[in-house]
């Protein structure tokens, strides 16, 4: 299996960064995801919507590697990764955030972001004693990059504070900076607007647009249809683990099957 090179943001839109094919995930006989396929092209921003219990987060976890599919295939940048462990996804250029943010609460904001750095020789036990100069240089470069990312997500003033003091919206921004430290080609954003105040929500949306403009592919789970319509060029709707509709935000929002799935047949 080929090992991916450093993430390149110049892949052709024809080559999907993420290509999930006929994914099925069953939990003790219950199908949370039942035959879903999903493609995310280079530089694309795709919204994934569906009512509660549709299987969006399970699909997300399958793509991120937190769960392994019962059947189906996941290809990332041309590599089949279905059975690989989650820690290898980032090496293929796919990073994720969590629906409920998961900062390292007792570590500082800056240390949280630094943890996202990849390929640090200092993460090897012996390198810290036999190559201290190289470790120090890499660490200094990583600190500079982490500070630039904290500027990008407007958290610079809090860099020495423990992450536990951050608000929900700030934690989402911190997660974004942390995953950007790994320079992923594609980012999976799980409900970035949930529980975030309007001012911070605007900041998050601006940053997501900017990341997409830089060429990063983004897969976005979101209930906020206004946000999905503003950000995404393509939307995939799912319900009961199955695909329901796909198209532009307007097409999907007007689809009777989607309306029925959200309103339970009351429309």
């Amino acid at each position: 299996m080929p090992r991916p090179d450093q993430p390149s943001l110049e892949a052709s839109p024809a080559d999907p960064v993420i290509d999930a094919r006929d994914l099925v995930k069953r939990f003790q006989g219950v199908s949370a995801v039942d035959g879903m396929s999903l493609r995310l092209g280079a530089g694309e921003m795709v919204g994934l919507i569906g009512p509660n219990g549709a299987g969006k987060t399970t699909l997300f976890n399958l793509v991120a590697g937190s769960l392994r599919p019962t059947s189906g295939e996941i290809w990332i940048s041309g590599c089949e990764v279905s059975q690989e462990s989650p820690e290898r996804r980032i090496g293929h250029g796919v990073g994720r955030t969590f629906q409920i943010p998961r900062p390292f609460p007792e570590m500082t904001v800056l240390e949280n972001v630094l943890t996202g750095a990849q390929g640090q020789h200092g993460e090897g036990l012996l390198a810290n004693f036999i190559r201290p100069g190289r470790v120090r240089r890499e660490q200094a470069a990583a600190i500079g990059k982490a500070r630039a990312l904290l500027d990008f997500v407007t958290l610079s003033a809090l860099e020495h504070q423990p992450a536990r003091i951050l608000s929900g919206g700030q934690r989402k921004l911190l997660e974004l900076a942390r995953i950007l430290m790994a320079e992923p080609k594609a980012i999976l954003l799980d409900e970035p607007a949930a529980g975030v105040n309007p001012a911070l929500l605007e900041t998050i949306m601006e940053r997501v647009v900017e990341l997409n403009r830089q060429g990063r592919s983004i897969l976005l789970i979101e209930h906020n249809m206004d946000m999905v319509s503003r950000l995404c060029t393509r939307v995939v709707a799912m319900a009961l683990g199955k695909p329901l509709a796909e198209g532009s935000p307007a097409q999907v929002a007007g689809n009777p099957a989607v309306i029925e799935a959200y309103l339970g047949g009351a429309a």
């Binding site: 991120a64 937190s66 462990s85 989650p86 820690e87 290898r88 996804r89 980032i90 090496g91 990073g95 994720r96 969590f98 998961r102 900062p103 390292f104 609460p105 007792e106 570590m107 500082t108 800056l110 240390e111 630094l114 943890t115 996202g116 750095a117 990849q118 640090q120 200092g122 993460e123 090897g124 036990l125 810290n128 004693f129 470790v135 890499e138 660490q139 200094a140 990583a142 600190i143 500079g144 500070r147 020495h160 423990p162 942390r178 995953i179 790994a182």
Partner: protein, 319 residues
């Protein structure tokens, strides 16, 4: 101040520093990585026995006795305990904290029973005596002997402290803390929790083995009763009192708790009638327990809590 008191002070501090080494080993496992090791006594015992077997003179009724230098014994003890920790870790490191505690407790009981029953190798219940002591040529002068041993242990603790601080501030230490705080999030960032946890468990076990070797050589005699679960309890109390996650706290906690232990023993022999002293010895454990409760109530992060940032950065310095 009499010379006897100084000599006793040196003896007390040397013993406390051997516990400080165990505490530093536990700190890398629990304080930095969140590994709930309740089998400390096992790794201390392995280090002590391996070092004793390597360094004692040939004995007719016991296997081993290689008469090697003390430094080789210490190194051998640390390596043996490290290998044992790696083996135990490889089998148990995937367990959640409470199950890991049960598994490591089982290992400690097993090791203690092994040293108790493997009489041809360990001397069984009689233990191993005549373990060579550092600076034995000074044994005729208790003050010089005590101070020389204190200096040796202080140097060992200092070297370990500096090395562990260097690791704690390194990207390696940062990953350990990230795994301790949230393993799933660390995995999502490409970190391999099993590999890092196993490394921390092995290093911690090796340090505990080194402590066991050093203590055995300082006292000159080891026996299975030295490695009962109470030892594990003592070391845990030391780390919690001093401050989990902080190497300085680990050293401070060892000195304070060993002080309480030694003072309570002295108080029992001074104030309790001889026929009741064996029973009253349990008061030592009660005192440690009460001290532990007070610390948990008044300073839950210990006397010296974990530093907020392990980065060696100047505040506000921008690159």
């Amino acid at each position: 101040m009499s010379l006897d008191l100084v000599a006793y002070g040196a003896f007390f501090l040397t013993m406390a520093l051997t516990y400080a080494v165990m505490c530093l080993g536990l700190n890398i496992q629990w304080g930095q990585t969140g590994l709930f090791n309740v089998g400390i006594a096992a790794f201390v015992a392995i280090g002590a026995y391996v070092s004793a077997i390597l360094t004692t003179p040939d004995t007719p009724d016991r296997l081993g006795g290689f008469d090697l230098p003390i430094a080789v014994g210490w190194l051998g003890g640390a390596c043996a305990a490290g290998v044992a920790a790696w083996f135990v870790g490889a089998l148990t490191i995937r367990l959640r904290s409470d199950y890991l505690a049960i598994a490591t407790f089982g290992v400690a009981v097993t090791v203690q029973l092994c040293v108790l029953n493997l009489q041809p190798l360990t001397g069984g219940p009689f233990g191993i005596g005549f373990i060579p002591r550092p600076f034995n040529s000074l044994a005729g002068d208790p003050l010089a002997f005590g101070l020389a041993n204190l200096a040796l242990m202080a140097a060992l603790v200092l070297v370990l402290y500096l090395a562990l601080q260097h690791l704690a501030k390194s990207p390696w230490g940062r990953v350990l803390r990230a795994i301790r705080e949230d393993e799933v999030a660390a995995q999502a960032l490409g970190k391999r929790p099993i590999r890092f946890r196993l490394q921390a468990f092995t290093i911690g076990g090796a340090i505990m083995g080194l402590a066991g070797a050093a203590q055995g050589h300082f006292i000159g005699f080891i026996a299975p009763d030295n490695y009962l679960p109470i030892l594990t309890f003592q070391v845990w109390a030391m780390l919690i009192v001093g401050g989990s996650g902080n190497n300085r706290g680990a050293i401070l906690g060892a000195i304070i708790v060993w002080g309480i232990w030694a003072l309570s023993a002295a108080a029992v022999s001074a104030f309790v009638p001889p026929e009741q002293q064996a029973r009253a010895a349990a008061l030592q454990i009660v005192m440690i327990g009460v001290g532990l409760c007070l610390i948990l109530l008044l300073r839950p992060r210990g006397l010296v809590g974990e530093r907020r940032s392990m980065l060696s950065l100047g505040r506000g310095r921008k690159s």
